[in-house]
């Protein structure tokens, strides 16, 4: 599959488009359906396609495993701290409808920052799980 020129050329166009779509879904999570989980899954799909078409080494050259785990942990910690802050100040992160203005980050409370963090976490986890299965599970 790695030597199929049609596949490789098509994927060169496809992968950025998929990633752009994923980022759009994540960033619009506070005003439309979607959000962190859906967007993160799509983002991880783009990594998986790159893995399948260009090979594992190509993806590894962009970001290796330890880096992914570290990004994920940092995101989880930030997520935890934001959540703790909003819980301790009795839940102001969920706004009452009507909600959210495009372009204004905090217009939906903490929903947008949390969505971005969730998106990154889901993308990392999905790709790590996929990679583990491809390698035969360590």
């Amino acid at each position: 599959m790695k030597n199929d020129i049609v596949l490789r050329e098509v994927c060169k166009f496809m992968i950025p488009a998929i990633q752009l779509y994923a980022v759009y879904i994540i960033l619009h999570g506070h005003i439309s359906p979607g959000g962190g989980f859906a967007g993160g899954t799509i983002l991880s799909c783009s990594f998986i396609i790159a893995h399948l078409v260009f090979g594992r080494d190509y993806v590894k050259s962009k970001f290796n495993f330890n880096l992914l785990i570290k990004i994920m942990s940092i995101c989880l910690i930030i997520y935890g701290i934001i959540k703790m802050y909003s819980f301790l100040t009795s839940g102001t992160h969920l706004p009452h409808p009507p909600i959210g203005v495009p372009g204004n980050i905090l217009s939906g409370g903490f929903i947008l920052p949390l969505n971005i963090l969730v998106g990154i976490i889901v993308a990392c986890v999905m790709y790590i799980v996929f990679d583990l299965f491809m390698e035969g599970g360590k």
Partner: protein, 119 residues
């Protein structure tokens, strides 16, 4: 007659039974994991059918807010999103364990594995 009119619930209970039987009585581990997924999906269907009120919109505010009466109950949907995440992680873990079992024992038949002596 309740069985015919509440077809969502009937269907999900049947699916739950199918999944439960697959999980309990199949020896093949992959089939067991599939049964587990069917069982979870049945509960998701049951839950989401509970939140649906006919003739009302999905709880997404597009142009203007219509008040509480305009939308279906969003709580079951939100819960089931969590449920799906949980089911995905359990499935991934079970599959990873199955791969390891196959490495160590050379089979994924649970009865055979139990009959073999561990170290």
């Amino acid at each position: 007659m309740g069985i015919v009119t509440n077809y969502f619930e009937t269907c999900s209970i049947i699916l739950f039974g199918v999944g439960f039987a697959t999980l309990m009585f199949h020896r093949n581990l992959i089939k067991k994991i599939i049964g587990m997924n069917i069982m979870d999906t049945a509960v998701f269907l049951f839950f989401i059918a509970k939140g649906y009120i006919s003739g009302k919109e999905a709880p997404i505010i597009t142009n203007s807010y219509k008040g509480i009466e305009g939308y279906v109950n969003p709580v079951p949907t939100a819960l089931m999103l969590t449920g799906i995440v949980v089911a995905v992680s359990t499935t991934a873990f079970a599959l990873a364990l199955t791969i390891k079992l196959h490495e160590k024992y050379g089979t994924i038949d649970l009865d055979e594995i139990i009959r073999m002596k561990g170290d």
